[in-house]
């Protein structure tokens, strides 16, 4: 997880904390080409801002 580039909070402008990965099966229905064949879904990173609590997600890199 530490090698992943930090997300920047859109509200505070500070680095967010990357604390989880979650499989998104619904997104897989919309974008089947992006499905990870080993996981059967699309892996999303979950980031939270330590300043304001804003939660951000993006596809796992």
């Amino acid at each position: 997880m530490t090698d992943t580039p930090k997300m920047i909070c859109p509200d505070c402008g500070i680095e967010m904390n990357y604390h989880a990965e979650k499989l998104d099966y619904t997104a897989a229905l919309i974008d089947p080409d992006a499905v990870d064949p080993d996981l059967d879904g699309i892996l999303e990173e979950v980031h939270t801002c330590p300043g304001c609590g804003t939660i951000g997600t993006r596809r796992s890199q």
Binding site: M1, H19, A20, E21, K22, L23, D36, P37, D38, L39, L43
Partner: protein, 188 residues
């Protein structure tokens, strides 16, 4: 401040049945945990425990098993699905402790002969875990078609399980660290 002492994450093999397919899964999980720095583990085979059947619950506590649960920061349960449920002996074993589980993480690995990866046994275990005070994670281990997953030497045949297990363990370790911090630092 986070402590640096290793996490202790025992693995419980949840069936005594002869010919069990989940033994290879438990050994695989033990190998995967052992590869990671900062984690200690042990494999607890419920077949080797000797809890009496004439009583149940904390009345039949085993001091060694309880000490292991007390030391644990998280648990991994490897559980076959028998008739959509969990083995009764596993419940008998788990029920012998309570305070030892409070605010500790648990990851569930379901094992099935069919294609659903033990999803039904995992669903049936969730309320039990909650009542024991354990905190479940949202990644599971789903081991389908168990008799074809490993060769005769117990080697994994489907490499996709390595990636899935990596995600499962990362989440379990994160939750174990958070809960240890909470247990040791955050008063209520």
């Amino acid at each position: 401040m986070m402590t640096t002492r290793p996490l202790f994450i025992p693995i419980i093999l949840g069936t005594p049945r002869q010919g069990r397919m989940s033994e290879d899964v438990a050994t695989f999980m033990q190998d995967e945990v052992t590869k990671r720095e900062g984690i200690e583990t042990t494999l607890i085979d419920i077949r080797t425990l000797s809890f009496p059947l004439t009583d149940a619950g904390e009345a039949i506590k085993d001091s060694e098993f309880s000490a292991t649960m007390m030391r644990a920061d998280a648990l991994i349960l490897v559980v076959p699905e028998y008739n959509h449920g969990y083995p009764g002996l596993l419940k008998h074993v788990l029920d012998t402790n309570l305070k030892e589980y409070i605010h500790k993480a648990v990851g569930l690995c379901g094992v099935s002969a069919g294609g659903f990866g033990g999803t039904r046994v995992i669903q049936n275990l969730l309320p039990v875990m909650r009542e024991l005070g354990l905190v479940t994670i949202f990644w599971d281990g789903n081991f389908s078609n168990a008799r074809n997953l490993f060769d005769t030497a117990g080697q994994l045949l489907d490499p996709a399980y390595l990636k899935r297990t990596d995600k499962f363990l990362k989440e379990l370790v994160w939750m174990a660290k958070v809960l240890r911090y909470g247990r040791e630092n955050i008063p209520r």
